[in-house]
C-alpha cells in the first residue's frame, strides 16, 4: 500500500508517492464520473458525515456527491447553526458524532488546527475540508490533478499564486504540494497580504504582476475576501484590480500556453476579468470543479481501505 495515512489533515504529512497515488486513483474516478452509470462501490456500507462549522456550498456539495457516487450513506450537519449556539464545544460535538459510528468525517472549521484536534478524539477517518488559514488538502490535490492533466507533469513547472496569500489555506496547501512535487512557486500579492516569513518557505515573493507571471506555466488566482478590504489590507478594490487583477493583457506575461486557475467562488472584476475566466482556451476553472469530485472520491476510497484494514487487524488481535 503506497497510501498509509489514516486521516487527510493536510498536505504536510503526505509523501510525494502518496500524492501520486491519490491522483492516479482520481483519474479512474474522472472516467467513472463521465460515464452514464456513475455508481461505484468503494464506500458501500460506510457512513460519511460532513460537518461544516463554516459556510460552504461548493466544497460540501463536492464531498457529498463524491461520497454518494461511491455508495456511502452521507449526512450533512450544519454544525455552525446547531450545537455551537447551544454552547457545546468542538470536542463534545465530535464525541457525540463519534458515538454514532461514522466512518468518514469531513470537517471544515474557521480556526487553524481545529480539525487536527478533532481527529485526535474520534475513531474514524477525518478529512480536512479547510481549517482556518492552515490547510485545505483536497483543494491542493484537485489543483494538482488539473495541472497534471493540462501539463502532463507536476515537476519542473513554474506556478504563480496570486492574491491574498496571508489568509489563504488554499495557498498553503498548494505551496506545500508543489514544493513536494518539485515545481517552482512564485507568490504575487501586496506586501500586506504576504505572510511573514514566506520568503523562508522556498518560494519566490514579489508584488509585481509582470515579474511574477514571467514564464509561468500555471497562474493560480486566489479569492479576495471582502472582509480584507475592511481590515485595511488594501486601499480599494479598484486599486487592487489595477495592480493584481488578471486579464488577457496581464496574462500575456506568462508562458503562451499558461493555464488560469481559481479555487472559486470568483469575484469577477476584483481579482479576475470575467471574459478570461470564461475563456475555455486558457481557464481550467470548470475542470477544477470536476476534478474536485474525483479527487475527493479517491481520497475517501484510500482512507476507507486503510480504515477497513486497520479494523480487520484489530479484530484479529481481539
Amino acid at each position: 500500500m503506497t497510501f498509509t495515512q489514516t486521516h487527510l489533515l493536510g498536505i504536510e504529512p503526505l509523501h510525494p508517492v502518496e500524492i501520486a497515488a491519490v491522483l492516479d486513483l482520481a483519474e479512474d474516478y474522472v472516467a467513472l464520473n463521465r460515464a452514464p452509470e456513475k455508481h461505484g462501490q468503494a464506500l458501500d456500507g460506510l457512513t460519511q458525515i460532513n460537518m461544516f462549522f463554516e459556510a460552504s456550498t461548493r466544497t460540501q456539495a463536492s464531498f457529498e456527491l463524491a461520497g454518494k457516487r461511491l455508495g456511502a450513506d452521507v449526512m450533512n450537519m450544519e454544525a455552525r447553526t446547531s450545537s455551537l449556539k447551544k454552547g457545546e464545544t468542538l470536542i463534545d460535538t465530535a464525541m457525540t458524532l463519534n458515538a454514532m459510528h461514522p466512518d468518514l468525517l469531513v470537517v471544515r472549521h474557521p480556526q487553524s488546527g481545529a480539525v487536527d484536534l478533532l481527529a485526535q478524539k474520534v475513531t474514524c477517518a477525518v478529512l480536512n475540508a479547510g481549517d482556518g488559514r492552515h490547510e485545505h488538502p483536497t483543494q491542493a490535490l484537485l489543483d494538482a490533478l488539473t495541472i497534471r492533466r493540462a501539463k502532463g507533469r507536476l515537476h519542473r513547472l513554474t506556478v504563480a499564486i496570486c492574491g491574498d496569500i496571508a489568509h489563504s489555506r488554499v495557498a498553503r496547501s498548494n505551496i506545500l504540494l508543489l514544493g513536494k512535487m518539485e515545481s517552482r512557486v512564485r507568490l504575487i500579492g501586496p506586501p500586506t497580504l504576504i505572510p511573514a516569513g514566506a520568503a523562508e518557505w522556498g518560494v519566490e515573493v514579489t508584488d509585481d504582476m509582470e515579474e511574477g507571471l514571467k514564464g509561468a506555466d500555471v497562474v493560480m488566482m486566489l479569492r479576495l475576501q471582502k472582509e480584507r478590504m475592511d481590515g485595511g489590507f488594501i486601499p480599494s478594490e479598484r486599486e487592487y484590480y489595477w495592480r493584481f487583477g488578471l486579464d488577457a493583457e496581464t496574462l500575456a506575461h506568462a508562458a503562451p500556453d499558461a493555464i488560469v486557475m481559481h479555487p472559486g467562488p470568483m469575484n469577477r472584476g476584483v481579482e479576475i476579468d470575467g471574459l478570461l475566466a470564461d475563456d475555455i482556451n486558457r481557464s481550467v476553472i470548470q475542470e477544477q470543479v470536476e476534478m474536485g469530485v474525483a479527487v475527493r472520491m479517491a481520497a475517501m476510497d484510500l482512507l476507507a481501505r486503510n480504515l477497513r484494514a486497520g479494523r480487520a487487524e484489530e479484530r484479529a488481535h481481539a
Partner: protein, 425 residues
C-alpha cells in the same frame, strides 16, 4: 531547637558564590549561622553534598482566589510552591473580581494566611477592574499590603491614564509592574510572526510589539520618575531599549518567564495548547538573547508566570484556547536546564529567581546570611525524572513539560525555619 545542616553546596546569590559549607537554622526561624570553613557543629545532619539555596521568590503567580478556586486555591498553590522550592509567591491581581480594592485584598490575605504554607506577597490592580480607565486606591491598597501594582497581562492602552497612575504611584513610592505588548499590533494574535506561525495559519504578532510597548512605558517612566518593572521581556529587539533606560538612570527592571527561556515557538508543534502563553513563545534567537540578558543582569527576574487553566479551556482549537501554563513546581527543574547547558551558573540563576525579585519588591528573602529568614530550598541539581502532569500538586495540570525529561529535584523546603516540604536526609 536549632537545626544544623552540613556537607552542603551553598548557593549564595548575594556573594555570587557556589561553595561547600554548613548552615544552621535557628529556633526563631532565621538563619543562625552560615560558614564555609571549620568543623560543623556536633550533631549536624550530613546532606550528602546537596545544594542549599534561598527559596525562590516567584513574581506573577495567578491563584484562582477569588473567583476561580477550581483552577487553583491558596492551599493547592502553596503545596505546589513548597514542592517547587518557592518560598514566596507574589500573586497577580487578575482574579474574578480583580484585586482592586482594599477589601478584596484583605480577603486574599486572610485566605492565604489560613491555607497557604508559603509566604504570599500580593500585587494589586493598577486600574479599577483592570479596565485601564481609572486608577485604584493605591494608597489604601499599599496600607493593606500590596507590594506592587499591575493590570496583569492587560495593557493600559490610554497613555494619559497610565501617566496619571504612574505620577500618583511615584508620589507613594509604589512599584508599577507592566505587560509590554503594543495593543493594536497584538490584537487577536496567538503566536509570534514568522515562518512557523505562517505555515500553521495562526494569527501572529511581530516581536516588535514588545519593543514598542516598552519604549512607550520607558518614556512615561522618564516623565514621571516612577519605579517600573516590565513583567516579561522576551525578545532581542526590546533589550537595547531596556539597556538604554538603565544607562540613563531610570528605575527600570525587567523580568522574563522560565518558559520563554527554555522553549521556543516551534514547541507549539501541532497546535499544542499547553504551549500557548502570553506573550507567545518566541524564536530560538530571541530565547538565546533572553538567556544571555539574564546572565548579563539586564533581565533581573525569572518567574514561572504560573497560570492555572482547567482542561476545558485548553481542549479547544489553538486560537480559542486559554493562555498560560502552570509553573510553580517546574520552575526549578526547568531552570536547571539553563544550568546544565552551561548557559547560567547557579548563583546567576538564584539572583534572578530569588535575590533580585525579593529586593525589587522589598521582601526579606533571597539571602543566605545570618539573621535572614530561613526560607530555604535543599535540592539535587542532577536528579533526573520524567514529568507526569498528573502528579502536580496544582489543581490545574496545564504544563508544557508533561512527559519531558528534566533534572533537578527539590528535597526539602523551609519557610521561616519550618519544614513545609520534603525531609532532611
Amino acid at each position: 531547637m536549632t537545626l544544623h545542616l552540613t556537607n552542603l553546596r551553598l548557593i549564595d546569590p548575594e556573594a555570587g558564590a557556589d561553595r561547600p559549607g554548613h548552615l544552621s537554622i535557628g529556633s526563631d526561624g532565621r538563619i543562625a549561622a552560615v560558614a564555609r570553613d571549620g568543623a560543623p557543629p556536633p550533631g549536624a545532619t550530613d546532606c550528602g553534598g546537596l545544594c542549599l539555596a534561598p527559596g525562590l521568590v516567584d513574581v506573577g503567580v495567578k491563584v484562582g482566589e477569588p473567583g476561580e478556586r477550581h483552577k487553583e486555591s491558596f492551599a493547592s498553590a502553596g503545596r505546589a510552591a513548597a514542592r517547587g522550592g518557592v518560598t514566596t509567591i507574589v500573586t497577580r491581581p487578575d482574579t474574578l473580581p480583580a484585586i482592586d480594592t482594599p477589601e478584596v485584598l484583605e480577603f486574599v490575605r486572610r485566605r492565604a494566611e489560613e491555607e497557604c504554607v508559603v509566604r504570599i506577597a500580593p500585587m494589586a490592580a493598577l486600574t479599577k477592574g483592570r479596565e485601564g480607565r481609572e486608577m485604584t486606591e493605591l494608597s489604601f491598597l499599599l496600607d493593606a499590603g500590596a507590594v506592587a501594582f499591575s493590570d496583569g497581562d492587560r495593557v493600559v492602552e490610554d497613555t494619559r491614564v497610565l501617566s496619571r497612575a504612574m505620577t500618583y504611584a511615584k508620589g507613594l513610592g509604589a512599584l508599577v509592574v507592566a505587560h509590554c505588548q503594543e495593543p493594536g499590533l497584538s490584537r487577536g494574535a496567538v503566536a509570534t510572526s514568522g515562518k512557523f506561525a505562517s505555515l500553521k495559519g495562526l494569527p501572529a504578532v511581530s516581536p516588535m510589539a514588545e519593543r514598542m510597548a516598552l519604549d512607550r512605558d520607558i518614556a512615561l517612566v522618564e516623565m514621571t520618575g516612577v519605579r517600573y518593572h516590565a513583567d516579561q521581556i522576551t525578545t532581542a529587539r526590546a533589550l537595547p531599549a531596556l539597556e538604554r533606560a538603565r544607562r540613563n538612570g531610570h528605575d527600570v527592571t525587567a523580568g522574563t518567564s522560565i518558559h520563554h527561556l527554555t522553549l521556543n515557538a516551534l514547541d507549539i508543534g501541532d497546535y499544542r495548547t499547553f504551549f500557548k502563553v502570553k506573550p507567545p513563545l518566541r524564536s530560538e534567537d530571541d530565547r538565546v538573547a533572553a538567556v544571555q540578558a539574564v546572565g548579563a543582569g539586564l533581565i533581573d527576574v525569572i518567574s514561572s508566570m504560573h497560570t492555572p487553566q482547567d482542561e476545558e479551556s485548553k481542549r479547544l482549537p489553538f486560537e480559542a484556547a486559554a493562555s498560560g501554563a502552570v509553573g510553580l513546581e517546574t520552575l526549578l527543574p526547568a531552570a536547571m536546564r539553563l544550568f546544565h547547558s552551561g548557559a547560567l551558573t547557579l548563583p546567576q540563576l538564584w539572583r534572578a529567581l530569588s535575590l533580585n525579585p525579593a529586593r525589587r519588591l522589598g521582601l526579606p528573602g533571597g539571602r543566605l546570611a545570618v539573621g535572614a529568614p530561613a526560607d530555604l530550598v535543599l535540592f539535587d541539581p542532577d536528579a533526573p525524572f520524567v514529568l507526569d502532569r498528573a502528579t502536580l500538586a496544582s489543581k490545574s495540570k496545564n504544563t508544557p513539560f508533561d512527559g519531558a525529561r528534566m533534572e533537578g529535584r527539590v528535597r526539602a523546603t523551609w519557610v521561616g525555619g519550618a519544614l513545609v516540604h520534603g525531609a532532611v536526609p
